[in-house]
């Protein structure tokens, strides 16, 4: 083995060790338990696909999964639409002396507690809260708030995950040489062309990271929809969660998880391909 190979392995060692022992090992446990029926922490029972059959028989997985994916896509799309201008502004428009401050400010609210922020958003949206009191000035009924609806869940999720998109995009935008954009503009490229031909390809990897960091957690979320979604709020995360923490049906819970993982992996694969296509257009 060459010295360089050894160095590569040494560099990879902590990360690979973490991957093996803290990601892949739990994952294999998950796969194994998804084949065990009922709530056994031991593996005494026979292995079978009964859990999966039960899930399909119940028929809740499909609709809830679809709902979660829709919510994930909606939040991700919104965060991209908001994230690009904000990150671009931070990277290129704001004076450098304020840049650090403003970047850190993006996550400052989360220095308190995510749960507290969710509650605070709910206070804002609830009837007789600030938003409804304001809207009441325009003649809306202040006791019929938008809280306890999917709109409220969407707003809360967007709030929580927008910073990841902004930070992701920012870290990449800030590395783009001002002169590249400047040159393109002076040669007569429109703003749109600059964005599509220069900025988008150059930031594609960061965009992908951002999408993964927003889309996946949103699709798997359940706390927000349980708290603020009202009676129509249930998402796939709640179903998984309830099998683990309400009926203690480990097997079913693990099987649901495996299905969730499979679908999410396929979706991330597709996303990766799409982004790779954007990237290839790099000049």
């Amino acid at each position: 083995m060459t010295k360089s190979r050894i160095k590569t392995w040494l560099l990879m060692l902590p990360g690979a060790g973490t991957l093996l022992s803290l990601v892949l090992l739990p994952l294999s446990l998950l796969l194994l338990f998804s084949l065990v029926t009922g709530n056994q922490i031991s593996l005494s029972g026979a292995l079978s696909f009964k859990n999966y059959l039960n899930i399909f028989k119940q028929g809740l997985f499909g609709p809830l999964m679809w709902k979660s994916i829709r919510m994930g896509l909606l939040v991700t799309a919104s965060s991209i639409l908001i994230g690009y201008p904000v990150a671009y502004g931070l990277a290129k428009v704001v004076k450098p002396r304020w840049r650090n401050f403003l970047v850190v400010m993006i996550i400052i609210p989360f220095f308190t507690s995510q749960l507290l922020l969710i509650y605070s958003l709910m206070v804002m949206l609830q009837s007789q809260g600030p938003v409804m009191t304001f809207l009441a000035l325009f003649g809306l009924d202040p006791t019929r708030s938008i809280l306890y609806s999917n709109t409220a869940v969407y707003l809360i999720l967007l709030y929580q995950f927008l910073p990841y998109m902004v930070l992701s995009l920012f870290s990449s935008l800030v590395k783009i040489d001002d002169n590249v954009v400047f040159a393109a503009r002076s040669m007569g490229a429109s703003r749109r062309r600059v964005f599509i031909d220069i900025i988008l390809p150059l930031t594609a990897p960061a965009l992908l990271s951002g999408i993964i960091l927003v889309f996946i957690p949103v699709a798997g979320s359940f706390v927000e929809s349980n708290l603020a979604g009202g009676t129509k709020g249930m998402m796939i995360g709640s179903l998984i969660d309830s099998n683990f923490s309400v009926s203690l049906n480990m097997g079913r819970g693990c099987a649901l998880c495996v299905l969730f993982l499979l679908i999410m992996s396929v979706l991330t694969f597709i996303l990766q391909r799409a982004i790779r296509y954007l990237e290839r257009r790099r000049l």
Binding site: L11, G15, L22, P26, M105, L115, F170, I216, C254
Partner: protein, 261 residues
């Protein structure tokens, strides 16, 4: 490039307003008598008195801050090492490695927490600081790698070669060329890592030692029984302290020249 961009600025102002609105509400509510956040507003400082005379919130805050800081530090270090290692591998392998690592984000943390607890029990670690550390660490690592590795790949290798041919040692090249250009990615990913760990209730709930509570656990428990606005008071203090510190750092350290990023 620094032209007037009114709609961009408007967008930024609105976004910051959106991000800070709940915090402002928290601050206002910390002075409001109603504990359910309803208007009309009646001024009180009672919640601050309650907080200061109070229960274990201070201790939990302190624990969470230190703990998240350590996890972030470890996550950033290992994340940078891993990214450097990944760059030396063929790109397809590296991408495959990252997708596997991303599973730590895709697996719902509830399930990851339970699975890790089972493993830790099996190896005799059980609920412990070490276990809680490892659990949070694995959640944080993908965030770092996902930002640092693309930044590393976008780096112009020619600059490095130039430095090397001019006689710089590998270490010197790393310290003077590679790391500084990675700085934006490293810092933003550290911020994210901190944010993830500081708020990672589920993993901490399953892996924290018996009788030990971090801030998210404390708040989660309080919220279930009906939280009193003394949590708002705590959040207000934390926000004010951290904002003024960031402001201070900005003024003192990097006021004149180019920023950190």
């Amino acid at each position: 490039m620094r032209k007037r961009a009114p709609w961009l600025k408007l967008m930024m102002v609105l976004t910051y307003l959106f991000l800070f609105a709940p915090i402002i509400v928290v601050m206002v509510m910390s002075f409001n008598t109603s504990q359910y956040g309803t208007l009309p507003f009646v001024f009180t400082t009672g919640w601050y008195q309650r907080l200061l005379s109070g229960v274990g919130l201070g201790k939990a805050t302190w624990l969470s801050i230190w703990f998240s800081f350590l996890v972030t530090l470890a996550g950033s270090l290992v994340g940078i090492l891993t990214s450097l290692g990944l760059r030396r591998l063929p790109e397809t392998w590296a991408r495959r490695f990252i997708s596997w690592l991303n599973l730590a984000v895709i697996i719902p943390w509830l399930v990851l927490g339970i699975a890790l607890l089972m493993i830790f029990n099996f190896v005799g670690l059980g609920r412990s600081y070490t276990g809680m550390f490892l659990g949070n660490f694995v959640c944080v690592l993908p965030y770092v790698v996902m930002l640092v590795y693309p930044a590393l790949m976008a780096l112009d290798k020619n600059v490095e070669y130039a430095a090397r041919t001019l006689g710089a040692s590998p270490r010197r090249t790393l310290v003077t060329i590679v790391l500084p250009s990675l700085l934006p990615a490293i810092l933003t990913s550290s911020l994210m890592a901190f944010m993830v760990c500081f708020n990672n209730f589920v993993i901490q709930y399953y892996l924290a030692p018996f009788g030990i509570r971090t801030l998210p656990m404390e708040i989660y428990n309080l919220v279930r029984v009906g939280y009193k606005p003394d949590i708002n008071a705590l959040a207000t203090i934390m926000i004010l302290v951290s904002v003024s510190l960031v402001l201070l750092v900005n003024k003192l350290g990097y006021g004149s020249k180019k920023g950190l990023f």
